[in-house]
Symmetry: C2
Subunit: 456 residues, 2 copies
Amino acid sequence: MTQIETYITGHKDQFVEDLKAWLRIPSISTAPEHNGDVLRAAEYAVEQLKQLGIKQAELIPTQGHPLVYGEWLQATGKPTLLIYGHYDVQPVDPIELWESAPFEPTIRNGNIYSRGAADDKGQVMLVLKALETLMSVNGGLPINVKVLLEGEEEAGGESIEHYIKTYPERLSCDAAFICDTHMPSTEIPALITGLRGIIYTEVEVHGARGDLHSGTYGGVAPNPLHALAIIISRLKDADGHIHIPGLFDNYQKPKHEEKEFWEQDPLHMHEAFLHEMGVSQLSGELEYPPLERVSSRPTLEVHGITGGFTGEGAKTVIPAVAKAKISLRLPPDLQLKSQEVFELFKKAVAEVAPTDVTVNVINLHGGEGVLVASDTQVMQAASAALEEVYGKSPVYLREGGSIPIAALFDEILNVPVVLMGFGLPDDNLHAPNEKYALSQFFNGIRTVVSFLQKLA
Amino acid sequence: MTQIETYITGHKDQFVEDLKAWLRIPSISTAPEHNGDVLRAAEYAVEQLKQLGIKQAELIPTQGHPLVYGEWLQATGKPTLLIYGHYDVQPVDPIELWESAPFEPTIRNGNIYSRGAADDKGQVMLVLKALETLMSVNGGLPINVKVLLEGEEEAGGESIEHYIKTYPERLSCDAAFICDTHMPSTEIPALITGLRGIIYTEVEVHGARGDLHSGTYGGVAPNPLHALAIIISRLKDADGHIHIPGLFDNYQKPKHEEKEFWEQDPLHMHEAFLHEMGVSQLSGELEYPPLERVSSRPTLEVHGITGGFTGEGAKTVIPAVAKAKISLRLPPDLQLKSQEVFELFKKAVAEVAPTDVTVNVINLHGGEGVLVASDTQVMQAASAALEEVYGKSPVYLREGGSIPIAALFDEILNVPVVLMGFGLPDDNLHAPNEKYALSQFFNGIRTVVSFLQKLA
C-alpha cells in the first residue's frame, strides 16, 4: 500500500466525522434566519484549511455571505490551480419527506444522508481531505493551490461574481477546478464538457385591490391565479415547447458527435431517467433524444405558486395577487446571455398575459452556461487521474444544471476549467433525503490526489 | 318613541358588547386546532338564547361541529318561523393585511371590524337582539320561533344537511328566514330571489416519484405545476368561458324581466363593482351584463395552488405533486345538481390533463342553488318591514354566493324561504378587514322586529 493509501485508509473515520460536523450546520443561504449558521459553516471551512496546513486561510467579507479563501503557493515553478466549491445548502422543505433529520447526518447502506451531503459539502470536503493527505504524507502540495468557497451558490452567487470581476488578479491561476458535478454511476467516471445557464424569475400578477369573495365577485373579478395559469400554459405548451419569441434566433446546432452520442445513448440514460423518476414515459420535446433535452435544450419550469388559500379545507377567495417562481435553463447553444433571455422572457410574459391583470416580472438571479474543451492539459490530467482510480477512462458529458462560476472563470480569469465531481444521479439534490455515497467520497479523495500529482 | 325603539336605543352599548364577545371567539370551522373555539362560540349562542327568554335552547351534537337549537312555541295559533344562521367563520389569512387583529373587534368609522362581523355573527346577533327586544317589551314573541344555527357553513355544512334530512318534522315550520345576505347600500334595502350553488374541489396532479432538480431532469421530467396550469387554462379561457362539456346542456335562459333588470342595471352595479374591486375594467364573459355574470352565470375560480417551493429566494425544484383548490358557482339556471356538475368537472379535467401526469379530483363539498318566489306572504311581510325601516320598498336581487341551506329548506321542509340580510358589498367577506356597519346592525334589529310583528 502506498503512503497515500495508508493515510486515507487510516483516517477514514476522521474524514467522515469532519464531514458530519460540517453537515450539521444548517447553512441555508436563502433563509435570513440561518445567516448565523452560514457564517459558522464558513468559519468551519477556514478552520479545516488551517488544520490541513494552509495557514493563509481567511473569510472575505461581502455584501452577502462571506467567501472562504486559502492559498498555498510554495511549489515554486509549478502551476497554480484555483479550486472552487460552495458551503451553502438548499432549503429542506418538504421536511416531512426526510427519513432522517436533514441536519443530523446519518449513514445508511454506505451513503451519508444530509442536506448538503452531495451539494456541495461532501464534494468540497473530499478535496480538502485530498489536500490534507498530500500535505501530511509529503509535507507540502505538488502544485500551488488557491481555494475559494462561496456561501451563495444556492442564492444567486452575486458576491463571488462581484469579487472575481473586481479582483481577477488575486485569483490568477493556470486552471480552475470545480468539484460540484456528478458521474453516471460508480462504474462510469465522467468529466463535464457543458453546463446550462439559468435565469430565475418571479412573475407577479395583480388583480383587484384586495382579496375578493368568489360568490359576490365571481364572474366580474380578475383572478391572478387563473391569469398565471394562462401565462404559464402559453409560455410552454403540453409538448414541452417553449414559446418565447427570439429565444432560438441565435441557436447553434450542437456538433455532429454530440448529437450522435445523445441519439445512441450508450449509457442508457433514457432507462436511467425512467427509473430514477419512477415514471413510465419521459416528458418534454419528444422529437429530441432525452440526453439532448437535459443538456442542450432550454427548460422552462414552474417551481412554486403563491396566492389565495392553501390551508386545509375550503376558502372561496379570489386573491388580489399571485406569484410564480419560474426558471429557464439556458444551454450555451442558444448563444444568448442570461440577461438577454430575461428581457425576452419579460416581453413574452407581457404579450401572453390576460389584459385584465397587471404583471411584474422580477429577475431573481441569472448565470451563464459554458462549453468546456476536452483537449486541454488540465482535462487530460483529470482524465488520467480518473482512469487510475476507476480503472477506465472517463466519458465526456454535458450536465444540465447551472454552475455560473464556470463561465466566470472561463470569461474573466480566462483559464481552462475542469468540472470533475463524484456525485451520483440519485443523490436527491435539492430534494428530501439528499445523500452522498461514501465510496465516491473516498474515491474522490484518491482521484483529486492523483489529479494534483499529475498537474505537477 | 315607541317602547321598542326605547329598548333598542337604551341597549345599544350592551348589544354591541354582546356581539364583540362572540366575535372574540375564533370559531374557524375548517381548522381542527380551533375545534374548542367553535364549541365555545356555540355555547355562547345557547347562553344568549336562554338569556333573552328562549329557555329551550341547547347544543345538538353532530359528527362535526354542534348545531345550536332553540324554540319558543307559545304563540298559539300563530305561524312558526324557522330562523337560520351560522356561528362559524372563515380563516383569517393573509393575517398581515388586517389593520386590527381579526379576533379583537375594533370600531372605526361606524363599522365593527372582525372576522365574522358580517359573515355571519353580526347578522345572527341582530336577529337575537330583535327577539330579545320583543321578549323584553312584550313578555313574549308575536309568532312561534325555531332558531337553528350551524357551525360548519364555511366547511361544507354536512352536519346540518344530515340533521334536516333525518329530522325534518322537528323543524316543521311555515317559513324559513335566513339572515346571511347583503343589500346594495345602506339606502337600498333588498330581498334575495336567487343564490348560486357550489362545488369546491381539489385537483391533485402527480408527476415523478419524488421532487427533482430542474438542472438534472429539466427537459424529461413531468412538472405537476405546469400540468395544473395547462389544465386550468383549458377549463376556463382568458375570456372567462368555462369549457366543461355538458355544463350548459340543460341551461334555461333567465326570465325576460331579470334579463332586462341586469341589462338596465338601475343600481349602477357595474360602476360599483369597478369601485369596490379597484379596477378599471371588469373581467369575465363580456357578452353578458355584469349583474348576470355574478348571479346567473357559473364561475370557475382557482383559490390556491400548492407544490414545489414558495419560500423566499430561489429553489430549482420540480415538485412530485401539485394541488389546486378550484370551485364552481352554479346558478340554478344550469338545472344540474352539484354532484352532477362534479362528475362533469372530473371528466373534463381528465380530458384536458397532459398525458405525462396522473390526476386525482376530490370533491371537498357541494351545495345547491335556489330561486325564491317573491310573491309569498312571508316575502311580502319582509318587504313591508324593510319599507317601514328604510323608507322605501326593497329591490329583488339574486346573490352570487351560495347558501346551500336555502335549497334544503326549500326541498326538504317544503316551505317558502326569506333571504333578508343587512350586509353591505364592501364588508370584505372571507377577506382581511371584514367589517359590519353598526347602522345596519341596528336597522336590522328594527327590521326583524317589524318582520315578526307583520308575520303575526
